[in-house]
Symmetry: C2
Subunit: 250 residues, 2 copies
């Protein structure tokens, strides 16, 4: 059920490699592949008996030609192994019709994707401000301080920026009249922040109306709506990027 | 002296916009432009009387067509305004001969640049683990904890990765026999970590020999050597990304 019903000999079937069990950074890629109805396999979510699992992910990463990806997610497209979320989206965008073909537009889309990636890293740091290798429980005190600053300064700054640029757009999407992977990623940002920081998002509601409207418009896209209702959409949980720790949402 | 001696009517004179007074993220762009001897102006470092200064930077950012960049550095190339360091390098790379033209190589180079960007953000967080809007002095206690984890886990992980991929390369540069902007950025990473974490770097010396050799090879490139000896190279200082706070380098 994590595999689309496409023949396996299809040459351009993409292979996505990401940790199973969380949306995480892989979700930005999933949303693009799903919206475009692109043929793909979410490899690590397949059982090992079908050539999947974390073992497979690690094996592919280890045997990748140099330079190998630093970490999941990575995408296998033919023999090319593409690392880094925003890089994957920049690679896929023109191939699956989710970014204009003109270079200038692609460059602007990518700048937005990298700003989204910066925000995602900051969201992660709200629950892991000291070390990735320690449990949340062991850095809870610092997490409260970091989250307080994130809610006070960073949510308004990032979402204010995205909202303003949306308002300035010549169409109802970030790059104009056509949807792009940037809009899908912004849907995920709003969805994730709604989950992790519901109170902060409510407080910012009036300032992010354009962004909220974009979120809703993306959620209504047929392929996205079908995806969100399917078991392929992993629910938010406390192992991913967006975690609901009420003590961090003051 | 921050302006190269090129006629101002030259159509492809790049304009770099970044905070004056620090190397910061702008330095990765400067190194590429300098190595390629590309015509550019470091706008915010010009005096206001010559159309420069921070005021100019802010004015250009504010009046940029949508989507405008989120933050400096950004590069103006004709009418296009390119935000995000790694995006700027990906844009410049093929134009100034600092990345192979083949798409697969460009994609792999960019994945490395984004991994470098992730490392840079983590370096910054060693002195600002709680908030960008607070002084280092007000988050020193948390900075010590974050830096301890960074030195113990992240320096070995990131530099170990870059060193391993260099060893696996088919040439003496990251992407093979030709230098690319990735190599210049890795020079800056090693140079910056030497400044900020000299003890940690010494302790890791045996594990990063290929990376050290690359650093030295880049430093010896004629245009880079000339740049490093010039007043255009801002010295490291405690306002940038790489800061020498001995208490963080245990």
């Amino acid at each position: 059920m994590t595999v689309r019903d496409t023949p396996s000999h299809m040459p351009n079937r993409y292979e996505l490699y990401y940790w199973p069990g969380i949306q995480g950074r892989g979700e930005f890629v999933r949303l693009a592949l799903e919206d475009a109805a692109a043929p793909y396999v979410d490899v690590a979510r397949l059982p090992a008996s079908k050539g999947g699992g974390v073992e497979k992910l690690l094996a592919v990463m280890k045997s990748a030609p140099s330079p190998a990806p630093f970490a999941p997610p990575f995408l296998k497209s033919g023999t090319l192994i593409v690392g880094q979320t925003a890089n994957i989206l920049a690679y896929l965008g023109p191939r699956i019709g989710l970014v204009p073909k003109a270079e200038a537009k692609r460059v602007l889309a990518h700048a937005l994707a990298l700003t989204i990636a910066d925000l995602v890293a900051e969201v992660h740091d709200t629950h892991h401000p000291i070390s990735l290798n320690q449990y949340y429980e062991d850095q809870k005190r610092e997490a409260r301080k970091r989250a307080e600053a994130f809610v006070a300064d960073r949510i308004p700054k990032f979402l204010g920026y995205f909202n303003r640029e949306l308002e300035r757009s010549t169409g109802s999407y970030m790059l104009g009249r056509a949807v792009s992977y940037v809009d899908l990623s912004l849907f995920q940002i709003v969805d994730g922040l709604d989950y992790a920081f519901p109170r902060a998002m409510k407080r910012n509601a009036r300032k992010i109306r354009a962004l909220r409207a974009l979120h809703d418009r993306v959620a209504d896209r047929p392929n996205i709506a079908a995806y969100l209702a399917s078991p392929r959409r992993i629910p938010f949980n406390e192992q991913g990027i967006f975690r609901r720790y009420p003590e961090l949402d003051e």
